[in-house]
């Protein structure tokens, strides 16, 4: 009440400032994010809904969709388990080399996508360290699903850990310690105390990790081999179609990816809206 009365004195100029800031931010977001998104859909529907559906129903597109979902379905859970383990070790214990471990977790962010595909070729390619051994045993990694999964895991590795570490740091470990003192086993404590406390941050991490996993292009392009209908993910399918002058087809597949992204974002927004207070209570730095 007091604050409101206080602010009435400066209400007019301050409201102007608010308005200007809002307009500036919205103009930027529209020009920079909304327009590229709109371009994708405009190009995809340039010839109407018929050609759009045709383009998506092609067997090559369907297999690309399946493959993209498969790769994400393996890579994301792997990184979730890693993220939780890394965050637990980083925030609940003191050990030597902690800063180094933190730096290593961020490392994939600073590797160019071109290089992050190449490194797996150097390891598992026919000329690589393990290539001859794998070849001898008939195991295929590069130019097959395992290579795509590995490259995707590499690129999306930091997301979950990045989301969890600051939160768990700020939450502290009092509740967990109390649970232990009251006689909970390690896993009981984890599932009844830790997991409920971090579930929103975990969900954000999963959503971002998933979005990036499905959209990754550079690294995957190096290890895919581009075998049509077999090892091409959706982003690769987009590029190939664009290069074949099939603009509608390219943007149709791209629009599916954008749609997947929008669905992810919608789920997130819905959760925030539905459980807004709860999330705020668990946000990093929140109390």
């Amino acid at each position: 009440m007091n604050a409101r009365k206080h602010s009435r004195r400066v209400a007019w100029p301050r409201r102007m400032v608010h308005l200007i800031l809002i307009v500036l931010a919205l103009v930027f977001l529209t020009l920079f994010l909304l327009l590229p998104l709109a371009t994708v859909f405009v190009e995809a529907f340039r010839q109407g809904i018929g050609p759009y559906l045709e383009a998506i129903k092609e067997p090559e597109a369907l297999s690309a969709i399946q493959l993209t979902l498969l790769v994400a379905a393996i890579a994301v859970p792997m990184n979730v388990v890693f993220g939780v383990a890394a965050a637990w070790a980083m925030t609940r214990f003191e050990f030597r080399g902690k800063a180094l471990l933190g730096a290593f977790i961020d490392l994939p962010f600073s590797v160019s996508p071109v290089v992050s595909g190449l490194v797996y070729v150097l390891l598992f390619g026919a000329q690589g360290w393990f290539g001859p051994w794998l070849d001898h045993h008939g195991i295929k990694i590069i130019f097959a699903v395992p290579g795509l999964v590995l490259a995707t895991m590499f690129v999306t590795l930091p997301f979950v850990a990045r989301e969890l570490i600051p939160l768990m740091q700020s939450q502290g470990s009092e509740e967990e310690e109390a649970a232990r003192v009251l006689g909970a086993s390690g896993w009981q404590m984890f599932f009844r105390v830790t997991l409920p406390n971090i579930r929103w941050a975990l969900l954000y991490g999963v959503l971002l990790c998933n979005a990036r996993a499905m959209g990754e292009f550079g690294a995957v392009s190096v290890v895919s081999g581009h075998i049509r209908g077999l090892t091409t993910t959706m982003p690769l399918e987009v590029e190939m179609r664009y290069n074949e002058y099939e603009y509608v087809g390219a943007f149709a597949v791209a629009s599916l990816l954008a749609l997947l992204a929008l669905v992810t974002l919608a789920v997130k927004t819905l959760l925030e809206w539905r459980y807004g207070d709860e999330i705020a209570a668990h946000a990093p730095g929140g109390h």
Binding site: I74, M78, V121, G125, A126, Q127, G128, G131, D135, I139, K140, I141, I142, F143, A144, V145, P146, V149, G225, H226, I227, R228, G229, L230, M240, Y242, N243, E244, Y245, Y247
Partner: protein, 333 residues
């Protein structure tokens, strides 16, 4: 944890390869970007012929990408039975790793090149800048679109065509050629990484007055992207672009697919294969088929790589290696 993960990976790859090779015979053709239509038709025709002759179903899979990248993938273990790339240098690189015989170009007729193309110009409707020949490309105000020869195999043919033109002018020498080509690349506002990227830049983005392109690409672009918005200009002299094909020896021996792979590449030389190539705007080797499509392919003076430059290894070392002629053309030198 790690072990179960490896088991999972192995299981996934076994499943995948089982799914891939469920047909009677499976063949993987690793090709470069612009050949998708061509090989889609070739594959259908060849599979029908093979079925009629042997009763087996051939399931041909395709991989498309930049020529050099594709060659590297084969070197790194992409299990190609057949490679059909943009230039011999890329197949040489595979041969260097021992995957096929060094003399692979001798194993099929015509230097293992069943079809050829030439380098031409694509200009905008009505040819507003009056482009007729190579000399017009370096006139003030003319902008030329061509991809970077360091990252695109196709673009190396463009570069060599320009060099060869300058060399064949009266008093032409390496020095005059270098001056001409240096001037030419000053007129290039965008160096795309691949040939298809350059076409998209020229056609979709409206950049530049001339696109230097393979003849088959120019004809295809005109058909696909609107025949009345672009015109093709054939220069007075140009190079014969030779995209070669080869069977990858060590892979077909491993897969047990030598017979069908050999038949596949030979099919490209058959009257039917030549006809499909011509339909897809590649110049057929067979004189009979070529005669039928004569109106599609205007005659002009041409030279081959062998006549003017030697082989690809020499070309690569002289022009495109790090620090070689192309690198000396840049504004930094």
């Amino acid at each position: 944890m790690k072990k179960s993960f490896l088991v999972l990976l192995a299981a996934a790859s076994v499943l995948l390869s089982a799914a891939a090779f469920a047909g009677d015979v499976a063949l993987l053709n690793v090709s470069y970007d612009p050949t998708r239509e061509l090989y889609r038709q070739v594959n259908t025709a060849f599979a029908a012929q093979w079925k009629a002759q042997h009763g087996d179903t051939v399931n041909i899979r395709m991989s498309h990408g930049g020529s050099g990248k594709q060659a590297r993938s084969v070197v790194d273990g992409l299990p190609a039975d057949v490679v059909t790339l943009a230039l011999a240098y890329d197949i040489d690189a595979i041969a260097d790793r021992g995957l096929l015989a060094k003399d692979w170009q001798k194993k099929l007729p015509d230097n293992a090149t069943p079809y050829t193309s030439t380098i031409v110009f694509l200009v905008r409707k009505g040819n507003p800048k009056g482009i007729k020949d190579w000399a017009d490309l370096v006139r003030p105000g003319v902008q030329v679109v061509t991809p970077n020869p360091k990252s695109s195999g196709g673009a190396r043919w463009n570069f060599l065509a320009a060099w060869g033109y300058a060399l064949k002018q009266p008093g032409g020498s390496d020095a005059t050629a270098k001056t001409y080509v240096k001037e030419l690349y000053k007129h290039v506002p965008v160096l795309d990484t691949g040939a298809r990227g350059a076409t998209n830049t020229f056609v979709q983005r409206g950049v530049g007055d001339v696109l230097i392109a393979w003849e088959n690409e120019a004809l295809l672009a005109r058909r696909q992207l609107g025949g009345d918005t672009f015109e093709i200009v054939v220069p007075s002299v140009t190079i014969v672009a030779e995209p070669p094909v080869a069977v990858v020896d060590s892979n077909v021996d491993k897969h047990g697919t030598r017979a069908v792979a050999q038949a596949y590449v030979e099919f490209l030389y058959s009257p039917q294969g030549q006809d499909i190539a011509a339909k897809n705007f590649y110049r057929p080797r067979s004189p009979e088929v070529a005669a039928r499509y004569a109106s599609q392919f205007p005659t002009t003076h041409t030279f081959t790589l062998g006549e003017l430059f030697g082989d690809w290894r020499q070309v690569q070392a002289k022009f495109f290696s790090d620090g070689a002629i192309f690198d000396q053309l840049g504004p930094g030198s």
